[in-house]
């Protein structure tokens, strides 16, 4: 049981962490959320088939991110500029990476998730729709708008 969990943790920890980070853009929050997601998996008594597990993890991660974002302590802190947050302290970001993350911070979170799932993890529209529980046309719409917003921010930058 523990060995299986260790395997799953090591296999998916970074995907979960990245998703949390792209949403929160903060190392500590992303770590907290990752930990919560895997605690939930560890305590989860129902077997989840491997093919579904990744989607399940992302779904839980997104829900946790939303909860975190809604939390009062986070809202109080949300006015802080990304420059003040430790976006690069743990990673070897270069200037373009930091710029990219700053653009990402400025666009709507719901677009960030869709962009992450589509462009980074390579899920198709149908899969994304099932993960975030919206219609396929909704996913397409978010992808389109996300790209437009991101492009605008890039041009503005």
């Amino acid at each position: 049981m523990d060995q299986q969990f260790d395997y799953l943790f090591n296999k998916y920890k970074n995907d979960v962490y990245r998703l949390a980070y792209s949403y929160m853009l903060n190392v500590e929050d992303a770590e907290d959320i990752t930990q919560k997601v895997f605690i939930k998996l560890y305590k989860h008594k129902v077997y989840i088939p491997d093919g579904e597990l990744k989607k399940w993890l992302f779904r839980v991660t997104i829900n946790n991110c939303k909860d975190y974002f809604r939390a009062s302590f986070f809202r109080k802190r949300s006015n802080v500029s990304i420059d003040d947050l430790s976006i690069s302290s743990n990673f070897t970001f270069d200037k373009t990476d930091e710029d990219f993350l700053k653009q990402l911070q400025k666009i709507n979170k719901k677009y960030v998730i869709v962009l992450y799932l589509y462009y980074y993890l390579g899920y198709n529209v149908e899969e994304i729709a099932s993960i975030i529980n919206i219609s396929e046309s909704g996913v397409k719409s978010r992808l389109r708008r996300g790209k437009i917003e991101f492009k605008k921010e890039m041009e503005r930058f």
Binding site: D2, F5, D6, F9, N10, K13, N14, Y17, R18, Y21, S22, E31, T34, Q35, F38, I39, Y42, K43, N90, F91, T92, F93, T96, D97, F100, L101, L115, Y116, Y119, Y120, K147, F150
Partner: protein
């Protein structure tokens, strides 16, 4: 958009959970399951348990004092049962329509049970079997009753006349009735004082060993009530003499 995709990948690939943090996290995750929650320490459960204990405690205290609270007197299974009954009526100020219990000997019991919606009276004090007629119906008590009735008849103020009083002698088979018996205290006064009547001795009849002394019929709120006493034949003479004297008065 390929550029965007590449940029996304390039940046995201650099985002990794460091090994130290990863091990620490794994350790915390595993401890989370080992931690056994004591059910009794869970706030919700503890609150419910405390609340239940409080309710039980209050229930015990309330139950132990309920009789006293309800009646104003300590309920005891003795010959003062009817006194308690009277007090209950008084305390609760139950309005009784006289036409409801015309010719209904069980009325007093039923109305109490119905009004109070409790078994408290039923359980010990007004139960048919718990009503110690044998104890109550002695010569002395009958005498007292009659004296009090006489007293009641002579009074102007009358408030209760709601019971058909039936007294059985000790060896008379209990009838399916709830009886208001006499006792040696003010209880009978409470009931009997209220008899406003143009009392008439109407009948003397009985069986082989007992006599049903249908000795008073009275009018109350335009209704006619009868008080009956069953006695041994050996007591009949005494009663008869007394009733005669009552009639003369």
């Amino acid at each position: 958009m390929e550029k965007f995709s590449n940029m996304f990948k390039k940046t995201m690939d650099k985002i990794k959970l460091n090994e130290k943090k990863s091990e620490e996290m794994l350790s915390i995750i595993k401890k989370s399951k080992e931690k056994k929650h004591n059910l009794f320490l869970k706030p919700t459960f503890a609150s419910i348990v405390i609340l239940l204990l409080c309710i039980i405690n209050v229930g015990i205290v309330f139950a132990s004092n309920y009789n006293k609270w309800l009646t104003g007197v300590e309920l005891k299974k003795d010959n003062n049962s009817q006194y308690v009954c009277g007090k209950v009526f008084e305390k609760l100020n139950i309005k009784i329509k006289t036409d409801e219990f015309k010719n209904n000997n069980t009325y007093s019991y039923n109305i109490i049970e119905e009004k109070l919606e409790t078994n408290i009276l039923k359980s010990n004090y007004l139960k048919k079997d718990g009503f110690n007629l044998e104890y109550n119906a002695n010569d002395e008590n009958i005498t007292n009753l009659l004296l009090i009735m006489k007293d009641g008849i002579n009074r102007e103020s009358i408030m209760l006349s709601l019971y058909t009083v039936t007294i059985h002698t000790k060896d008379y088979e209990l009838q399916d009735k709830y009886n208001l018996c006499v006792a040696n205290d003010e209880s009978e006064y409470y009931y009997i004082k209220s008899l406003k009547t143009n009392a008439v001795i109407t009948d003397l009849s009985g069986g082989d060993t007992h006599i049903k002394v249908k000795y008073i019929t009275f009018t109350y709120n335009k209704m006619i009530y009868t008080i009956s006493i069953y006695i041994d034949k050996k007591d009949a003479d005494f009663i008869y003499e007394f009733l005669e004297s009552l009639k003369e008065n």
